[in-house]
């Protein structure tokens, strides 16, 4: 298990390095530079600026500096907002994005699993049909459409919830609802189908023959086996939710990372692009790593397999 974890860790570092390199190449292949604006500045000033940000150096040298900044995790000051460092931007924006993203994931996973389980238990019943109709809507409506609809109805028309900003738990309801509906629908459908399959298994019949209560059969015997596919898609879903927050943050005027991320690309604000991308990708890769570990906990066969790989 330890060797396996180490191996995954090394691969994780390699992945981050590849992402970082790709970002660097892409970043520099977009035409324009941070100082390339309509308003022309004095050439001497421009040169000075470029020297300060080391943009006058050849690309391989810049790449080396870039790698150094990743290792030390110090991306220097933003070019557009010179009085603020990239680290400060991250420290300010990320906790908010993280809060939104994690709440969304929790809501999506818990409600999705519950919905899917109940649908499976009432297979072909009213609850099943209702849940699956809801799921189809959830999957097909993009979160930005849902977000604007929610704002219009709940905030503007009925005035129940605040329409935007991020200051109290009440403010979280709309953005989380908009963001969580899609993933929740996917999880519900997945849980339902894998639950239906698990419920026909012999070991469920055997659990029934033991005289266990229905709750115990579902919670202890069925759910754990039915959740395998759900955990599998959790990895990609995390990516979806995290990138989805950019749009939702914009719509609800939430001061998370998304704003900086999008603006930095438009502004060719190289340090911010680098900082946010590397940070986000590291986070994501780490999450995928966690998913793999959880997988091993859910299904002992996987753990053993890896153990055998060790020897």
């Amino acid at each position: 298990m330890l060797k396996y974890t180490l191996k995954r860790f090394v691969m994780m570092i390699a992945t981050i390095l590849i992402i970082a390199t790709l970002t660097f190449v892409l970043m520099h292949s977009i035409p324009g530079s941070p100082f390339n604006e309509e308003r022309t500045t004095n050439e001497a000033i421009q040169e000075n600026l470029e020297r300060f940000y080391k943009l006058d150096q050849p690309l391989p040298v810049q790449y080396a500096y870039y790698l150094k900044s990743i290792v030390t995790f110090d991306f220097g000051p933003s070019i557009k907002k010179p009085n603020e460092s990239v680290n400060e931007l991250l420290a300010r924006g990320f906790p908010i994005s993280f809060e939104l993203g994690m709440t969304t994931i929790l809501v999506a996973v818990i409600s999705g699993i519950l919905l899917g389980t109940f649908a499976a238990l009432r297979h072909n019943g009213v609850i099943d049909y209702a849940a699956m109709t809801f799921a189809v809507f959830g999957i097909s409506i993009p979160n930005f459409v849902l977000a604007t609809l929610l704002i219009q109805k709940l905030a503007v028309d009925w005035n129940i919830l605040p329409p935007a900003t991020w200051s109290s738990p009440l403010h979280m309801i709309l953005p989380v609802a908009a963001l969580a509906t899609g993933p929740m629908a996917i999880i519900a459908r997945l849980t339902r189908s894998s639950m239906l399959e698990v419920l026909t298994q012999d070991y469920i019949k055997m659990a029934r023959a033991k005289g266990l209560s229905p709750f115990r059969i579902i919670a202890r015997h069925a759910l754990r086996n039915a959740l395998m596919p759900v955990v599998t898609i959790m990895g990609t879903m995390l990516a979806g939710i995290l990138t989805g927050t950019f749009v939702i943050e914009k719509i609800f005027a939430i001061p998370g990372m998304g704003k900086y991320f999008v603006e930095s690309i438009n502004n060719r604000d190289y340090p911010v692009i680098m900082g946010t991308t590397v940070f986000y990708s590291s986070f994501l890769v780490f999450m995928l790593f966690l998913v793999d570990i959880v997988y091993g906990f859910l299904d002992p066969r996987i753990k053993l397999h890896k153990k055998e790989g060790e020897a």
Binding site: Q201, Y203, M206, G211, H221, R301
Partner: protein, 373 residues
């Protein structure tokens, strides 16, 4: 030397003789006791009474009458085998006894299932759960799928005891260890922490048996317990059944289509066809004097080592469609002795001996005269 010495010698001899006699007497008693121990004593106490059981399933294509009036009794410490080909209702019968018929689409439409005098078919699910696993246990066909892959053997073993009895974790563990010992699993303490995929097929079936027996049930329903195992393991598992029955006195209903299994461990045999028991009897009666043409066909279709020359005799045709079961004897279409009456009227049960009964028109006096002529 004299008389005295001679006398002593004679006395010595006499004493030895006497000792010998005593010893042999003791041996005789020992043998008797062993015989007593090994001979199966089947009591007259009824554990299970199934009467006129009907089970049907509602499907899109109509209603399948899977079990159409099954009756039998099971005595304490006895093994009753229910044999028959696929789809004849064996498993449905066992599931109905166990209360595992999914309702809907299934329905016990008629009949009684009494466990030690207590009617099971009218119990609520909650009441039933107090019997399932405690008084009646079940062993499933495929040990590869009957165990939950995500729980350790120990967890799956202890679960039953801890659900039904108020025992501490350590007591449950002790019980689990004892069960693993009983079913012959080496290093039980270590094995308890392992997962099903770390066991071979035969070992898994032993574990399934241990799980079924852990609450000391009085009735064990084994639904084709050896079908998924290879032949050498089959023999071991069958021996285990005999051993467990000798130790615990549990009654066994054995569902199978394998007559070899039946010959080894059954006391009585019920032959099922198209949802009915068409012949029931003592093992010897069924094997040596089968009365129903289907039973005869079934026995003829088993390969025999002692009759090398003879070809296997398959039973031609297929079982009837249970969406629309025939009015008369369901075997008519495949029966070499079929008469007109068979098609229209179901034969009554003819009791041949105290244990042997058969549903066949050939037993009718008029039919006997007809065939003699």
């Amino acid at each position: 030397m004299n008389n005295e010495q001679q006398l002593a010698a004679v006395k010595e001899m006499e004493r030895e003789k006497q000792l010998d006699a005593e010893r042999s007497e003791q041996e005789l008693v020992n043998v008797k006791q062993t015989v007593q121990k090994h001979r199966k004593v089947v009591s007259t106490e009824k554990v299970l009474e199934v009467e006129n059981l009907h089970v049907s399933f509602t499907t899109f294509g109509g209603t399948v009458q899977a079990v159409r009036g099954v009756s039998f009794d099971l005595y304490k410490g006895e093994t009753l085998a229910i044999v028959g080909e696929s789809g004849c209702g064996k498993s449905v019968t066992s599931n109905a006894i166990m209360g595992l018929i999914p309702q809907p689409p299934g329905r016990i439409s008629d009949g009684k299932v009494q466990f030690k005098g207590r009617e099971l078919t009218t119990l609520t699910k909650k009441e039933l759960r107090k019997i399932q696993g405690v008084d009646i246990s079940m062993i499933f066909q495929d040990p590869m799928t009957a165990l939950n892959p995500t729980l350790t053997i120990g967890e799956q073993l202890m679960e039953g005891v801890r659900t039904h009895f108020k025992v501490s974790k350590s007591e449950a563990k002790e019980k689990a260890l004892a069960m693993l010992n009983l079913v012959g699993i080496p290093n039980p303490a270590e094995r308890l922490k392992q997962y099903p995929h770390q066991f071979s097929g035969g070992m898994r079936q032993r574990i399934v048996i241990a799980i079924a027996l852990i609450c000391e049930p009085e009735l064990l329903i084994a639904d084709e317990p050896t079908t998924a195992l290879d032949v050498t393991i089959q023999a071991q598992i069958l021996e285990l059944f005999e051993e467990i029955q000798a130790k615990t006195g549990v009654s066994i209903v054995l569902i199978t289509h394998d007559l070899g299994v039946v010959a080894k461990i059954a006391d009585r045999i019920a032959v099922m066809y198209a949802g009915k028991i068409i012949e029931i009897g003592d093992k010897r009666e069924i094997f040596y004097t089968p009365q129903h043409p289907y039973t005869q066909g079934l026995l003829n279709s088993v390969p025999r080592l002692d009759l090398l020359e003879e070809e296997l005799q398959p039973i031609d045709g297929t079982p009837p469609d249970l969406f629309a079961p025939p009015k008369g004897c369901p075997f008519t279409a495949r029966c070499p002795f079929a008469m007109t009456v068979c098609e229209h009227v179901h034969p009554a049960t003819t009791t041949l001996t105290k244990t042997h009964a058969v549903d066949c028109w050939l037993q009718d006096e008029r039919a006997k005269q007809l065939w003699e002529a």
